[in-house]
Subunit: 311 residues, 3 copies
């Protein structure tokens, strides 16, 4: 693997999932692979799971890890040809090349503005690092994608499914704050690549980009969509059409024990209890969110392993 | 040891102190014990000594260490059953379980509000982690206790005492800011478990919780209390009765060379010079504060060692 | 080496440069030298290159590294004898001794105020650590000097020069913000110790301290100064005479491809594109700024190596 900025960067998905499950059983098997290699983790936004799991994954492989909160340093310029006489101290062209002097792999977290759709879709932060860095780039959640989360979700689903082709439902949930579409996008793309029967359910106006959903069925009737589901992935996202807007706070879309039926409950976390999902679901045995969080480590580890093997 | 949230968690105090002194002589003897184990240090408040000494202690044992300033991430919800539609992004129930996926031991620093006595005394932050985490918890100073500091103090006192039962005085000092009772509480509890003759001296109104002081003599006359002391531990704390209030700024309570006599001077640091204690004391050979700071490493190390041995 | 706070601390400059180039070829040759040794990096100001390169250098030598953003902790008092009843929580006298309990080497970054010349020139932060710490101190850029940068520059120049005595020009550049003289000072001092023909060019009013420039020629005519240069080091600094003032924003002083001629372009970074230097220069093969950034690692590594050898 050369970079991991999107799901399609995985050369062989089913092999990769199997590899991750093997790493989970024996996390230190490749502890010499990363020896004398450094992962620099750049955070433009805060992080708990991604920070801890990716750091652990890299150390399991014997890598050195360095954390840099970019906002503690200074503002980067991303436009070409600008006269930098305002508040930006360094151009990403220089910063990315410089950081590449100290890193063997650079991981980047950079959320969208949710105000400028075209700019967010250009993935200018992630793609600038990809363009100018001279070492591989790993996406720790960008404006439109969260491929490490999606890989962890695929691992979790593979571990838990008892059917050849389980029914998986992505169900929109209300949230007080406008959130990115990144997790939903990557989950949909990942499920499209697995042997699952995927349905998306959300209120009208919350359609994800058609470039993502393609021919995946969308049902605005949550009850219908959830019928006979094996896995229900609940997630809020803000409107893609009315970009970044929080159109609807309809609490009827909150996931409940009753709606869930016998399905497993999935969520990427952090989750607002009793807004996105009721306590009874999260505290039940049907919730697999902690397993998902645990699998973040092995998703990151298998990605770093494949990149290290290709250095 | 299963957790170290309070002094009473130490199974055998005198053995533990002896062990710590041995670790100090040979800090890397158990450098394989922590191999492939991760300490996650969670800071709700800033730290210098606790951060550096605990990190060093863990690394001396071969552990990986990850530092997380919780306030850089997001606000945690601690109440059960709330509808999380305000500023809290994640419930501690989920966060603690998640962090347990990446940590073998979690250390937590969380100061009191000094405004809500009942809430502070409930130790809701520390105890929530203890309740929901699935790995051991270490207290890096909580609302009401600082057991790592107290253990370092016990080690220092044991190293320095020339008497079978030295006289130890805890002497309140003025301070411009309202401070927690945590250090004083843990020092008193620790001294009650050692072979020392303990006296507490402070102005009226600064009585610590009776649940802590029990039958330890309290003398409001500092001069009388200090008479023939072997060790004088100076510390400010805010009023426990008039909770969190800074009732008295009487500079006469500042520790001086004259008052100290021939006793050793102890303080947990940081210390306000010429407010809590005059320069002459801190800069004299009677001050053992740097030795105390050094012993913070071995206090943390013996605690982590005992927890690792019980994993 | 006992400390590295200034260029003159290097015992043998040409040997040190040669050693650094050897380390670059074999960065892990001395990976046991730093075993069980800890570098504590204290940042009073933000950092990208210095942070990443020094951390990498220390880890290449097998050291443990701990990063502390001092401002995340608390304000330090630097004056002697003060009554600390205001906003300063700890005296540097105590902090430096305490940190020395946990560190084998302490690295400090502390920029000038650019408002109080005498105080900045006293280097009170760096020198307080040097005075009170009981372990060696490394300067990661102080009020008046940046000796790790200058050593990286010397390494770069040594690697690239094709002449026995190349012509080197330090050329002032405009900048929207008042910047320290530290980089320029250390570069001048370093070049004075190498076999180079050094000229400084800047607008009137931007004279560096005469204690630094000594008899190095200063030419206010940039075009004349740049004639036949082999290396041009471009850098902004604020006025030393009108201390900390940004007197002149004359864009004619920006470095261009035309002015540069056939010389190599050097800059410490971060750099404001099209303010300090035009894009065409930075994006050309004549720019060696990324090589300079890379050499920051080996400058730091050779310094840490020499200090470790003297512990």
């Amino acid at each position: 693997m050369k970079n991991y900025t999107k799901i399609k960067d995985i050369p062989n998905l089913s092999e990769t999932i199997k590899d991750a499950i093997l790493l989970k059983m024996n996390p230190f098997e490749f502890q010499n692979l990363g020896q004398h290699k450094t992962l620099v983790m750049l955070f433009f936004n805060s992080s708990l799971r991604t920070r801890l799991s990716t750091e652990k994954a890299a150390k399991n492989l014997g890598m050195e890890v360095t954390i840099l909160n970019v906002n503690d340093a200074w503002n980067l310029e991303f436009e070409d040809g600008t006269i930098m006489n305002m508040d930006k101290s360094e151009h990403v062209k220089d910063a990315a090349q410089v950081i590449s002097q100290y890193a063997d792999i650079i991981a980047v977290r950079a959320f969208p503005s949710l105000t400028d759709k075209a700019k967010d879709e250009s993935e200018f932060i992630l793609n600038s690092f990809k363009k100018y860095a001279t070492v591989p780039i790993v996406n720790m959640e960008s404006a439109t994608a969260h491929p490490l989360q999606a890989l962890a979700d695929a691992i979790t689903l593979t571990e838990l499914t008892e059917k050849a082709k389980p029914k998986v439902v992505l169900s929109w949930a209300p949230h007080p704050k406008a959130l990115p579409q990144a997790v939903a996008n990557s989950f949909v793309e990942m499920m499209q690549d697995l042997e699952v029967d995927l349905t998306i359910t959300h209120p009208e106006g919350y359609e994800l980009s058609e470039a993502i959903t393609k021919d995946t069925p969308i049902n605005h009737n949550q009850e219908e969509a959830l019928k006979d589901a094996d896995f229900v992935y609940v997630k809020n996202w803000s409107s893609y059409k009315d970009y970044g807007q929080n159109l609807n706070q309809d609490n009827n879309w909150m996931m409940t024990q009753e709606k869930l039926g016998k399905a497993k409950f999935m969520h990427c976390l952090p989750v607002r209890r009793n807004v996105v999902v009721e306590d009874a679901v999260l505290d039940s045995d049907q919730s697999v969110v902690i397993k998902q969080a645990n699998n973040r480590t092995y998703a990151a580890q298998v990605v770093l392993k494949q990149i290290l093997e290709d250095l």
